[in-house]
Symmetry: C2
Subunit: 284 residues, 2 copies
């Protein structure tokens, strides 16, 4: 039965675990397959063509494993490669940009919207475009914050270093006139506290991963693809338990270490795989 | 004539430009071909197998362009993949680890040696091993400094953020008992000033790229491969002039921007290329 298949999630690396966590919380009956492209991470400093190529390889790998829906957790891949991914696979594809933009517009009530993201996402202006499609009158201010990724992965989210980096990047936002700030990179929710403190005024932070989880839920319901709840579950579902499978393209040990930092627990099932070269095989 | 061929340099990305600068200063008559693997940068968080694969592809690409000598500017690739690279190409290969280790041992006069580098280089313990081969009695303390790379690329070398990051990473070194500190990643020379200030005591900093340039010079002389000086040069050689060719595997525009930040000038000749898939072609 199609509804019993897992949901596929891919990300450039470990950051997408914040999207996995949001999906897991929102959809406790679902099973997940996660792919982190750790051999080629990060995507945020790379070009359109390269991000498209990597994203298609990841999407096809997950599709070959049997999934009912694909979530592109990576903001950069969502911003640059969503049309290419949709052409490459048969399953429905949910990115994080449109849901994040919609959540921001809904809460900002006409005030301007800030977006913090990778260099590639900011350069693509994908958030600005998605917001404009919903409300062309809203002002959008985008800011790349490349150091946030290393800070999160180092486990330095709550240090004075993180505070001074945040102060530098967020200085261009006038918190009083900001209706919402979109966390447009999967790593940034790890820095939520320091970002809030730095903005001083209480600006709502939009976690695009959470917004995407809401969209996934609606889509599963409308397509009648939701996995039926177990009548008498053997046990309660836990983050990273053995019902969810994790794949990486490199350096599984480092992934497990950072996963523990992000989620408090490392994956039970974690395997290193190769996702490239599938294209060549297909055309032969 | 073999001596007229350029010297090949490869790096995981833009950081190796500090090694190019050192070679250019030391060997003003030579021409260079530089390859930055910007599609797959960074190497410092990746595994041995992956770094070996990428490094071999880069080395073969440069060899196919016609070079008389190959310099592996990337510390991570030098630490993990030098034997694999040497087996893959016919030209002589110079890495940065052995020259950096030798320069440190020479200057430390028996005091302990600090090494700062990427996670993968530290995990490989390549510097410790190279130093032990020269003097087994020297204590070596290695420390990974992942945030230094983003700080250098952001152009934040002389900010208070850089100061607090350096204070955090360098806190384990007791400057008084340190005979030398090896800058074991091509990005770190950009942060030389803040590193020196943080250590307080005057510890000699070893730039492995400069040490490698000295080794390249000896090797060219002993093999009689040095390019003869022009009798009446048309013009003075400049960094990044059109006698040196730069290749990247992705995002040439970003490379040019960071190059300007690192060297004060962007390459005159910069081209995006693909270096992968050569293996498959070879065996067919």
């Amino acid at each position: 039965m199609l509804s019993n298949l897992p949901i596929g999630i891919f990300d450039s690396g470990v950051g997408g675990l914040t999207v996995y966590r949001a999906l897991h919380e929102r959809l406790p009956d679902e099973h997940f397959i996660y792919l982190g492209d750790t051999a080629r991470v990060p995507y945020g400093t790379k070009s359109l063509n390269t991000v498209e190529r990597y994203a298609i390889e990841n999407a096809r790998f997950l599709e070959s494993r049997g999934i009912k829906l694909l979530v592109v957790a990576c903001n950069t891949a969502s911003a640059l490669a969503l049309p290419a991914i949709r052409s490459a696979v048969k399953v429905d594809v949910v990115g994080v940009i449109e849901p994040g933009a919609a959540a921001a517009v809904a809460i900002a009530s006409g005030k301007s919207i800030g977006v913090i993201a990778t260099e590639a996402t900011v350069q693509s202006a994908a958030y600005s475009a998605a917001i404009a499609r919903l409300d062309a009158s809203v002002e959008v201010i985008e800011q790349a914050c490349p150091l946030f990724v290393s800070l999160a992965e180092e486990g330095w989210a709550d240090t004075s270093v993180a505070e001074s980096v945040a102060a530098q990047y967020l200085s261009r936002f006038e918190a009083n006139s900001l209706g919402a700030l979109v966390l447009g990179c999967t790593h940034y929710p790890i820095l939520e506290n320091v970002i809030s403190r730095t903005l001083k005024s209480a600006v709502p932070l939009i976690d695009s991963g959470e917004a995407a989880a809401t969209e996934v839920q609606s889509l599963l319901e409308s397509r009648e693809l939701a996995r039926p709840a177990e009548q008498q579950p053997d046990r309660e579902r836990q983050l990273c338990d053995d019902l969810d499978h994790f794949y990486v393209t490199d350096a599984a040990q480092r992934f497990a270490k950072v996963a523990e930092r992000f989620l408090g627990v490392a994956p039970s099932v974690l395997e290193a795989v190769e996702v490239w070269g599938h294209d060549e095989l297909r055309t032969n």
